[in-house]
């Protein structure tokens, strides 16, 4: 058996649509201004205005790579290629070189003449950091690669990597090695060694 359902009555205001449309637009505009010019805590959006705004990362977030310094400002890296060997994305390119003849490290140590990480290819696995025997490459910056509109900006060279500080603001690594010049250094030739 059929039920007779009573239709809701329509007022003139309903019938004309204008008032209801304006009411609806009001909601739209309220949200619009709330989410664009209003204070941030009132916003009701799932998105943020990146890159002007960033989210707080969890404590354990590692971040983009950096190259640590020695006390004298030179790169800690000895260009052993362990990181580029370990890197599954093969995005690290290093050219080793010898220190110049007048450098105290000449002859017994090497450095990276070129050190490049392609951050677009990197998968941020951290294997490079694990592999580094010198604590020269770290992912303790807590920042990510800044947004950019050019591929070249994601190719980090040695200077860029050395210009990024760690989360604690330091560049230098605690260095257990003897460095030429410090009093514990054994010397590099026969005269100094005995």
């Amino acid at each position: 058996m059929a039920y007779a359902i009573k239709k809701p009555g329509r007022t003139v205001a309903d019938q004309s649509y204008v008032v209801e449309a304006v009411k609806g637009l009001g909601v739209t505009f309220k949200r619009f201004f709330q989410n664009t010019i209003g204070p941030a805590e009132n916003r009701k959006t799932a998105t943020i205005r990146y890159p002007e705004e960033t989210r707080e990362y969890p404590e354990r977030f590692r971040g983009v790579h950096r190259l640590t310094h020695r006390v004298d400002g030179s790169p800690r890296c000895v260009a052993c290629l362990c990181c580029s060997t370990a890197c599954p994305a093969q995005c690290i390119y290093i050219e080793p070189a010898e220190y110049e003849a007048d450098d105290p490290r000449h002859g017994y140590e090497r450095y990276p003449r070129v050190f490049v990480i392609d951050e677009l290819r990197c998968i941020f696995c951290g294997f490079c950091v694990e592999a580094c025997p010198c604590d020269a490459i770290r992912m303790d910056t807590g920042t990510h690669v800044p947004a950019s509109w050019k591929r070249e900006h994601f190719i980090f060279d040695k200077e860029t990597l050395m210009s990024i500080p760690g989360k604690d603001g330091t560049y230098v690594t605690a260095n257990p090695r003897h460095e030429p010049g410090d009093p514990t250094h054994p010397g590099l030739d026969r005269d100094k060694a005995h």
Binding site: A79, C80, L81, C82, T85, P96, G107, Y108, L188
Partner: protein, 530 residues
């Protein structure tokens, strides 16, 4: 052949063999540092200690802790013996893997690493260092010493080619013995005692004989490094192809170590071959790899109104075919630097197809080698060409020299030249005559012959193509391609066939084995190439 037992395996030996040598011949390795199959026995590293089971083993009285009695008790243990020094006797039983041996190996490792700096990241030997390998195989434990290691000189210049790091040296004396016994030059020795031991160079001397780079290769650790290879590459990226040295008529067997990612050769290493070079190579030979990348000819060159213009390879082949088509009295110049295959196809095209009857051989003379060349009684042959014998054999008889060619041109007997290779015994000035007639040269590097050519067609180096050389002893030795030739360059024999096609002469070889099959048997035999 008499046999003995090593870990239960029957191993044959010749009377006089030591345990380690007999095992090595059979392909069984007993860990060792100071022993080298080509050097005398020093028995000072003690890594090769083994247990010898015989009726009356040499027993040492020792005190051992007894768990039950909670006290030390007197007992005996078998004295371990160095396998490198112990001569094998018939029926001897040797244990190289027992608990006692393992303990000894771990202890020797720990001892060697007491003061050895673990600077593997900087050390060039990383990746092929016996200390690394044996540590993983026989120790795998941290050392117990926690005090500051003894420091010794680092980066000591031994001579123009070698740098020494005393901290890394394990005093195996292989380098000293190599200089003494193989080179006959007692330039290295040891000084000081105990943990102050270090290798030194004779006063007033440098390590500067003709085989200095070999000291780096016999060094089992990174104590000696070659200035040329230091810091350039890491060995775990390198691949090796069997090669034959281009330096002289001895034809030492080599490993061509190249990086497949960059298609670049980084060094040459001796490849063991008892009949040719044993385990050794000379410095000059090891440096011939530079030719693979330096002074290369990568494009065609055509001389126009006295000026050399670089042109694409195709254009140079076209220009070459124009020259050859017109020639009536062609001179064919074989090369003592090129392979038998290259020279053979050159002969096919130049003689059979183009009717050249005047045949010459371009070969380096000792004076024309940069820095000079002298033979010696060790390896170096007075003839600095790797394939004079092979080139002569495939050409079918004695060839005249490039100096004769210059004379023949002056006499008007020649109206065009087809030459192979860059090398000649004469200088550009002495060969100036060769520029008076149209001259097609196929070459991989810049040299006197390329400089007097009208058309130069680029071809592959010996690292970029497989081939065969015949050395001064008449042994044909094959070698294999290591890297790919850049820019579509092909080996000389393939290029000659291409030129042949252009001038309407079909030479029906498509593959290297076909060329080899057509060559005289003495020039294509497979020798040491593995």
């Amino acid at each position: 052949m008499p046999t003995f037992k090593l870990d239960g395996q029957e191993i044959p030996f010749e009377p006089g063999d030591t345990i380690i040598r007999a095992a090595w011949k059979k392909g069984v390795e007993i860990p060792h540092y100071c022993w080298h199959p080509g050097l005398s026995i020093a028995a000072n590293c003690r890594m090769c200690l083994v247990e010898i089971k015989s009726a009356r083993p040499m027993a040492l009285p020792i005190l051992a802790w007894d768990e039950k009695k909670k006290d030390y008790v007197e007992t005996t243990k078998n004295k371990l013996q160095p396998a490198c020094q112990m001569e094998v006797t018939e029926g001897m039983e040797v244990v190289s893997k027992g608990a006692a041996v393992e303990k000894a190996q771990a202890s020797v490792q720990e001892f060697l690493l007491l003061n050895h700096p673990v600077d593997c990241p900087i050390c060039d030997q990383a990746g092929e260092c016996k200390l690394q390998d044996y540590w993983l195989a026989h120790q795998k434990k941290l050392k117990r010493k926690d005090t500051e290691p003894v420091h010794k000189p680092k980066a000591v210049r031994f001579g123009p080619t070698i740098v020494y790091d005393a901290e890394r040296c394990i005093m195996c004396t292989r380098c000293i013995r190599f200089c003494d016994e193989v080179v006959g030059d007692h330039v290295l020795d040891m000084r000081e005692r105990g943990n102050k031991n270090e290798i030194c160079v004779s006063p007033g001397r440098e390590l500067d004989h003709a085989y200095t780079l070999m000291t780096e290769h016999v060094c089992p650790v990174g104590a000696l490094t070659s200035k040329d290879f230091r810091f350039k590459a890491r060995v775990w990226f390198l691949r090796s192809a069997p090669g034959v040295c281009n330096g002289c008529a001895t034809g030492c067997n080599t490993w061509v170590d190249y990086d497949p990612r960059y298609q670049r050769v980084y060094r040459l290493r001796p490849r063991d071959n008892e009949e040719v070079n044993k385990f050794w190579m000379c410095d000059a030979g090891m440096m011939t790899y530079k030719r693979f990348h330096e002074d290369r000819i990568l494009t065609g060159r055509v001389r126009q109104e006295g000026r050399v213009v670089e042109v694409p390879r195709d254009v140079s082949i076209e220009a070459a075919s124009k020259v050859l088509e017109k020639s009536q009295r062609l001179a064919v110049v074989f090369s003592a630097q090129h392979t038998n295959e290259d020279n053979f196809v050159l002969g096919k095209l130049g003689r059979e197809h183009l009717g050249g009857t005047a045949l010459y051989l371009a070969a380096l003379s000792p004076e024309s080698v940069p820095g000079g060349w002298k033979g010696d009684a060790i390896l170096r042959h007075p003839d600095p060409n790797p394939n004079r014998a092979g080139a002569t054999a495939v050409a079918g008889g004695e060839l005249r020299s490039t100096a004769d060619l210059a004379a023949d041109i002056a006499a008007g007997k020649i109206d065009a030249i087809l030459s192979l290779g860059w090398a000649a015994g004469e200088s550009v000035e002495q060969l100036a005559n060769l520029a008076n007639v149209p001259h097609v040269n196929l070459s991989s590097n810049i040299g006197p012959l390329t400089q007097v050519a009208t058309v130069v067609v680029p071809v592959a180096t010996t690292a970029e193509a497989s081939g065969t050389f015949v050395n001064a002893k008449g042994m044909a030795q094959q070698f294999q391609r290591a890297v790919n030739a850049p820019l579509g360059i092909k080996s000389a024999w393939e290029t000659l066939i291409e030129i042949g096609k252009r001038v309407g002469r079909e030479i029906a070889f498509a593959k290297l084995p076909e060329v080899r099959a057509a060559m005289p048997a003495t020039t294509s035999a497979v020798a040491a190439a593995s």
